[in-house]
């Protein structure tokens, strides 16, 4: 116990002290690098090796004016050194941000980790409407929005482009800074999913290409109602719990085959009557992702239909509690 307490008494890893570990840059323009500095003082009588370990921003770190080679780079501070670590940061997308740099200090077997926080708000001379794109393709009638880009007075709009990858949507320029969103029919191959990501709005400002992300969320419905919407196996311990039923209100749609299902899942389907199709999902093997009892499994199956590019996606999930072959 005494040894344990003594260990703590002698373990004072704070041999590099910072005046502050959080810098608020306030508002910064999107077209300029942001700069700042963290002032330090070494409390050690020994030289200190300082490693620039990681950062959540596109940042360079300089120590008293000397650039660290790169992230993972190292510098050695002399004993009792006083100085500053300056940073340069490529502005993140418009809006508030909170980033950090992490440095690691080593000296004679002692170690210290310091997180240096940088906060602020990036302002852009253009405004995009909407600020988020929500599209629900199940809505009738489907109305697709326009993306509008408004420059601040005195900011010319140059070389504006709106892009997305994969190209689920297309953007037709109706006028300068105004884009009509249209659907790429291939989006329906994602039936039953909600697609998320960023649309990239790019423009040239003072000779520099600026990219502003526009987050999107597109709910792509299945081509027919799926009831229940997912096959939930729950806790599987008995063989009879290895089967789940899902009913499709197929109407005039016909299920023609299984486009994809994992190997451990047997899928059988058939028409109950003119308008309904039943689909059975049978766990014929233990999912390979389940390495120990009590672990869960999940995934999707994809059924082909007589409508090209309109598959039906059925998510499934469960937990294997016991499995006797």
């Amino acid at each position: 116990m005494l040894v344990f307490l003594l260990c703590f008494a002698f373990q004072d890893p704070k041999f590099l002290q910072f005046k502050e570990t959080r810098i608020d840059l306030g508002t910064i323009p999107i077209d300029r690098k942001a700069e700042g500095a963290f002032f330090y003082e070494s409390l050690s009588d020994l030289p200190l090796d300082v490693y620039f370990m990681l950062s959540t921003c596109q940042c360079s770190l300089l120590e008293s004016g000397q650039l660290y080679a790169e992230r993972g780079g190292m510098t050695t501070l002399p004993p009792k050194d006083k100085g500053y670590m300056a940073f340069e940061m490529e502005p993140p997308p418009p809006g508030p941000f909170e980033h950090y740099l992490e440095i690691f200090i080593k000296s004679q077997g002692w170690e210290q980790k310091v997180r240096l926080n940088i906060v602020g708000t990036v302002i852009s001379p253009i405004h995009i409407e909407p600020t988020r794109l929500h599209i629900d393709l199940a809505q009738e009638p489907l109305q697709l929005p326009q993306i509008k880009i408004y420059p601040e007075a005195g900011t010319p709009l140059q070389e504006v482009s709106v892009e997305m990858d994969p190209q689920w949507l297309t953007f037709d320029a109706a006028a300068l800074g105004s884009y009509q969103v249209a659907l790429n029919e291939a989006i329906y191959t994602n039936g039953g999913e909600t697609l998320k990501g960023d649309i990239h709005v790019k423009y040239r400002l003072k000779g520099k290409m600026i990219e502003v992300p526009l987050p999107y969320e597109i709910a792509v419905p299945n081509p027919c109602p799926v009831n229940p919407p997912s096959a939930l196996f729950g806790r599987v311990s008995q063989p009879i719990e290895r089967i789940q039923k899902v009913e499709l209100e197929t109407g005039s749609l016909t299920v023609t085959g299984v486009a994809w299902a994992p190997e451990y899942l047997q899928v059988k389907f058939g028409k109950i009557d003119e308008t309904r199709t039943v689909v059975y999902l049978h766990l014929k093997q233990k999912p390979p992702s389940v390495l120990a009892m009590g672990q869960g499994f999940n995934g999707n199956i994809l059924l082909e239909t007589n409508q090209p590019q309109r598959p039906i996606r059925i998510p499934f999930a469960g937990k294997i509690v016991a499995w006797d072959e």
Binding site: P239, R242, I243, K268, G270, I272, V278
Partner: protein, 240 residues
């Protein structure tokens, strides 16, 4: 007695509706009916099998179901003597049960004890009217506050209903599994067992209709139509 009842209630409250499937060798409820009727789902209706099935229901004190099956025989062979005799037997049985019910009712109305109401409920329950049985016991608990007998009876009936639903759920799953694994004969047996436990509830026919979509062997529509008459009993009760 009171203590035992209270303990039972406590156990019920503590463990809720936890049912477990019996071991395979004891999992035979409804098997005789399944063996009698099951094979028929792939064949034309057979009066002999229908008669045998009616007898099984009759022996199990389910005169309503027996009557429906005897009537089904008569649609195939209007002069079938065994079916006609069976219907007479059923009517006598129903008359007897109705008389017993009225007897208990009269005794209760004359100021008799709570047991009369419980006996009325038991008659309803065993004839396949669980909702009415539960209603009677609920009412009995109000009329005889503090008496544990109707409470225990209500619990027993409720557990009976829940146990049937549990068994129907697992048999339906087993039937789906058999269908997906391409075992039509097993499907037939499980359908027969569901028919017996659920007394021909529509969910049994729905389950068969679903699995029918994935089994190779065609199901005989005439047979299903005849057996489907059993659903009418539940439709009249509003309990499917």
């Amino acid at each position: 007695m009171r203590l035992i009842l209270l303990s039972l209630i406590s156990i019920h409250c503590l463990f809720g509706q936890q049912f477990q499937a019996p071991p395979p060798e004891q999992d035979t409820e409804g098997l005789p009916l399944a063996q009698t009727l099951g094979p028929m789902i792939f064949e034309d209706p057979d009066p002999a099998r229908l008669l045998a099935a009616a007898e099984i229901f009759m022996d199990d004190n389910r005169p309503h179901q027996a009557k429906i099956l005897y009537e089904a025989v008569l649609t195939l062979e209007p002069k079938n003597q065994a079916a006609l005799a069976g219907i007479n037997k059923v009517d006598e049985r129903l008359k007897y049960l109705e008389n017993r019910y009225q007897e208990f009712k009269a005794r209760y109305e004359a100021g008799g004890p709570v047991q009369n109401l419980c006996s009325m409920a038991a008659i309803k329950f065993h004839q396949g009217y669980p909702e009415e049985a539960l209603e009677i016991t609920k009412n009995a608990a109000k009329v005889f506050p503090g008496d544990q007998v109707p409470v225990a009876a209500q619990m027993t009936f409720q557990q009976g209903v829940d146990l049937d639903n549990f068994n129907l759920d697992r048999l339906e799953k087993a039937m789906e599994l058999a269908a997906v694994n391409g075992k039509p004969d097993e499907v037939a047996t499980l359908f027969g067992r569901m028919l017996y436990i659920g007394l021909g509830k529509s969910r049994t026919f729905e389950a068969l209709k679903n699995v029918q979509a994935v089994i190779e062997k065609p199901i005989n529509e005439k047979t299903i139509q005849l057996l489907g008459r059993l659903q009418a009993f539940h439709q009249n009760q509003g309990a499917n």
